[in-house]
């Protein structure tokens, strides 16, 4: 590639960086003050684009193209205020994971609301008046609108910097980012501050989305797409640092642009098409930055969180009652093929059982392990693809494929886990997400091996498991074994050590436990067991595609675990069953099943912050009277 072409690509990258920076800056600002990682931030970006389209094309163009952009951003900010007042206010004191779940549910609701309002088609907006041409740069045509976008990034960065340093509002934001309780004790109305910050963050996201309509159509996939990118930018830049977000947005956009610009590279005799590695490149940048600077380029180690942590409920061995109930359920499940009237019952039964194992392995790493994984789909995907490829490419028998599945996912977990156990909290969650995206993008982009977006076909169970009942029993046996194995590990000395590491890493180290090694091993165990679920999934469906191992599956797993209650090993069994059945039935009633699902999740999170298995405890609390723990604490913002 010539120097000119390289510079031209670099310029392209700068143009793309601005939109990403706006979203990431808003996300970072909101996280800094409220400590909430707002999953619905992707929705704000998407809504910005849709609203801008409406203002640009409809309503008689009353506000002009540019007026429409600002109005769209203001509209999103107004929605942000509504969301803060009605939802976030109730969950500021809830555990981090519930906040993530609640805001993700909101994302689902907003996505379906957008579908309902604007329809499923991508909406192409007119170009920006006055900036619809191109200028000659380095002998090529460069869109003048992109030049404008390049300027927007630094402009917003300076405006944000001035606001944060020169105004009282900015000083309050910075103070609250450090110690919001103290800010309240000094007489500052935190509620107002939080609402204002949330509105500002939503405005930035809406502006970012609105400005994109001159480059790309408004689409329903924008929310999750930009969210993953924005997470990467925020984590690479450092949580809460706006200059860091700009730096990271530029870095990542440049790396991507460079990959595209390189095109096909010849290393010896092998031709590598670098433009297909943009997704991998982005997440590799993140992984490298996090290893070198765990808190991001301009981030700092998080201050001690001052919220009083709820003590984890101790894990107890199953009571005789629970054992008996388990045995009854197991017998009932084993008899299901003999009782089921419709063949679909068994298909659904297999889905539920696979979900149970997937969720149980995730609960193992999140509950006793205390490591909040947002990328459990990685191990599911590794297992599924290992099994599928073993059959399709190597002609391996089913038994071998089902052994290779956990081996592959276990090795993946060993590799990823080594990095992950070096981080904690939100950073750990984001790194696991990044690894899952790496697996996804390798699968997606390595067409020769994995079939790309089409996936791998023709993976059917071999005799004697080729009947519905036979395969169902196989799945039941393996899932039961997997769940009991995880339970056993939790109650073994290793399980005690794992929980010690979660509750106090320092004290665990002091009594001679190698915290990282224990957590690393836990990663490997969870990944291995999850691979079994993935392998079974491939055989259950007969095929596997990148879509089934995307970010959505990781989130499904989280919802299942949180529905069931993160602290209880029985929880994921309940949560996964309920979630799978709910998804199945809701999806049949309505096209808007995600919205309904989101609404149900929101209600559950708001009313039962302890998950399904926490309901019993909540009811006890209610009967006892003082409502302590159920209602937001007094003095909550």
């Amino acid at each position: 590639m010539s120097l000119d072409a390289f510079l031209f690509q670099a310029l392209n990258g700068l143009g793309a960086a601005s939109g990403l920076f706006l979203v990431a800056a808003g996300l970072s600002l909101i996280f800094g003050v409220t400590r909430i990682v707002n999953m619905a931030h992707g929705s704000f970006y998407m809504l910005g684009a849709y609203l801008a389209w409406t203002f640009a094309t409809g309503l008689g163009g009353a506000f002009g193209w540019w007026g429409g952009i600002l109005l769209a951003a203001a509209g999103v900010a107004a929605l942000g205020v509504l969301v803060e007042l009605t939802l976030l206010r109730r969950i500021y004191k809830a555990p981090e994971l519930f906040q993530l779940l609640a805001t993700f549910a909101l994302l689902l609701v907003i996505n379906d609301a957008t579908l309902w309002l604007w329809g499923p088609e991508d909406l192409l907006a007119p170009r920006a008046p006055g900036l619809d041409g191109a200028v000659d740069i380095l002998g090529r045509k460069f869109p003048s609108y992109d030049l404008f976008l390049i300027a927007v990034g630094p402009l917003v960065l300076s405006a944000a910097h001035l606001t944060l340093t020169r105004t009282r509002f900015g000083r309050l934001v910075r103070a609250a980012t450090q110690d919001r309780e103290m800010v309240g004790a000094l007489g500052v109305n935190q509620s107002l501050l939080f609402t204002a910050v949330f509105a500002a963050g939503a405005f930035l996201a809406g502006l970012g989305g609105a400005l994109q309509i001159a480059r790309e159509p408004a689409a329903l996939s924008m929310d999750l797409g930009v969210l993953a990118d924005a997470f990467v930018v925020v984590v690479v830049g450092g949580m809460g640092s706006i200059p860091g977000a700009w730096l990271a947005a530029v870095l990542i956009a440049e790396v991507k642009a460079l990959c595209i610009g390189l095109g096909v590279v010849h290393v010896g005799d092998v031709a590598i098409n670098a433009s297909r590695f943009t997704l991998v490149a982005e997440f590799l940048v993140m992984a490298v930055v996090l290893i070198v600077r765990p808190y991001g380029l301009l981030g700092r180690a998080p201050a001690i969180v001052r919220a009083v942590a709820e003590a984890e409920t101790p894990l107890r061995p199953a009571s005789p009652w629970l054992r008996a109930a388990g045995a009854v359920v197991l017998v009932a499940l084993a008899l299901l093929p003999l009782l089921a009237s419709s063949p679909y019952t068994l298909v659904l039964g297999v889905d539920v059982l696979i979900a149970v194992l997937f969720a149980a392995s995730l609960q193992f790493i999140m509950g006793p392990g205390g490591l909040h994984s947002f990328g459990h789909a990685a191990y599911f995907g590794l297992g599924a693809y290992a099994a599928a490829l073993a059959v399709a490419k190597l002609g391996a028998p089913m038994g071998v494929a089902l052994v290779l599945a956990p081996v592959a996912s276990g090795l993946g977990a060993v590799l990823f886990g080594w990095f992950c156990v070096r981080l904690s909290g939100v950073y750990l969650a984001m790194l696991t997400l990044a690894f899952a995206q790496i697996v996804w993008s390798v699968v997606y982009q390595w067409e020769e091996l994995t079939g790309g977006s089409n996936g791998v076909f023709g993976i059917w169970p071999a005799p004697p498991f080729d009947s519905r009942a036979g395969f169902y029993w196989l799945v039941l046996a393996l899932v039961t074994a997997g769940v009991l194995f995880l339970r056993m590990v939790m109650h073994a000395p290793f399980g005690y050590a794992l929980r010690a590491c979660r509750d106090s890493p320092l004290r665990a180290e002091a009594v001679g436990i190698d915290v990282r090694r224990v957590q690393w091993a836990a990663f490997a165990i969870a990944g291995t067991v999850c691979g079994v679920a993935g392998g079974l999934f491939a055989f259950a469906k007969g095929s596997i595609s990148p879509e089934t191992i995307s970010i959505g599956r990781s989130i499904d797993g989280l919802v299942m675990v949180l529905l069931g209650g993160i602290g209880s090993p029985t929880g994921p069994l309940l949560g996964a069953s309920l979630y799978t059945l709910l998804q199945d039935s809701v999806a049949r009633w309505t096209d808007y099943w995600r919205a309904l699902l989101g609404a149900i999740v929101l209600v559950l999170v708001l009313v039962f912050p302890g998950g399904l298995s926490g309901i019993a405890a909540r009811v006890r609390d209610l009967v006892r009277g003082p409502l302590r723990g159920l209602l937001p604490r007094r003095g909550a913002p």
Partner: protein, 239 residues
């Protein structure tokens, strides 16, 4: 009328109850020392009055029930809080820290204007801070942070200050300065409740003392009586 009147105050950290039915009153311009060993509940009492921990019971400030108010509303009534671990905003400069605490001037219940603090007046009170207006809070020494925390709270022009462990972990010269400041505040008519383990420090500034043990009041009386009561000191304060 008393400035602060606390009745049957209970407080929790999570599931653990720390205070078990505490009663306190503080009069205008009075300095009350909350004394007791580590873990007796001194700091928790101050936090519970301020609404920073989960609490039950009655807290009346200036005759008004505040036990259901958010901390910022209590602060806006003129109750200042100085935390023991200082909690200055380390990324903000000294001046910016003071600005965060700023509130409008106010008057005592009897109509006298309460002292209205400005950064300049506070720099006169704490000359050490005057030379470091633009220094980052995190780049100041422990003693300077202790003064900054108190100064920051005074920017809210409080009628009463809750002062948590002002003498802990700072150099003797700072301890003297803190004592001088408390006496100065008292002279201005400001009431002070301080939590304190050090009886010598309390003796310098306090009018009355309340001694806590395991979240309950075990002794109360004038500071002079406590100083003379070797038995009470041995029972509740000696380590």
């Amino acid at each position: 009328m008393s400035m602060l009147e606390v009745k049957t105050l209970e407080a929790w950290y999570g599931a653990a109850q720390v205070l078990f039915g505490l009663d306190l009153t503080v009069g205008p311009g009075e300095v009350l020392a909350l004394m007791g060993r580590n873990g007796a509940g001194k700091s928790t009492t101050l936090k519970a009055v301020m609404g920073l921990v989960e609490r039950r019971g009655s807290v009346r400030f200036l005759g008004r029930e505040v036990s259901r108010l958010a901390p910022f509303r209590i602060a806006r009534l003129g109750l200042g809080f100085v935390p023991e671990d200082r909690r200055i905003f380390s990324d903000l400069t000294v001046m910016e820290n003071l600005d965060i605490g700023r509130q409008p001037p106010r008057s005592f219940p009897d109509g006298r204007p309460a002292p209205a603090w400005t950064p300049e007046k506070l720099f006169a009170l704490f000359p050490n801070l005057a030379g470091m207006r633009d220094r980052r809070g995190g780049a100041t020494s422990g003693g300077e942070q202790q003064m900054l925390t108190l100064a920051r709270t005074l920017m809210g022009n409080p009628l009463m200050v809750l002062l948590d462990e002002p003498s802990e972990g700072v150099a003797p010269v700072i301890v003297e300065e803190m004592a001088r400041t408390i006496v100065a505040l008292k002279r201005e008519g400001i009431s002070v409740v301080l939590s304190e383990q050090n009886i010598h420090f309390a003796a310098l500034v306090a009018d009355r003392a309340v001694v806590l043990e395991k979240g309950e009041v075990r002794w109360r009386g004038s500071m002079a009586t406590l100083l003379a009561d070797a038995e009470a000191q041995r029972a509740f304060l000696a380590v």
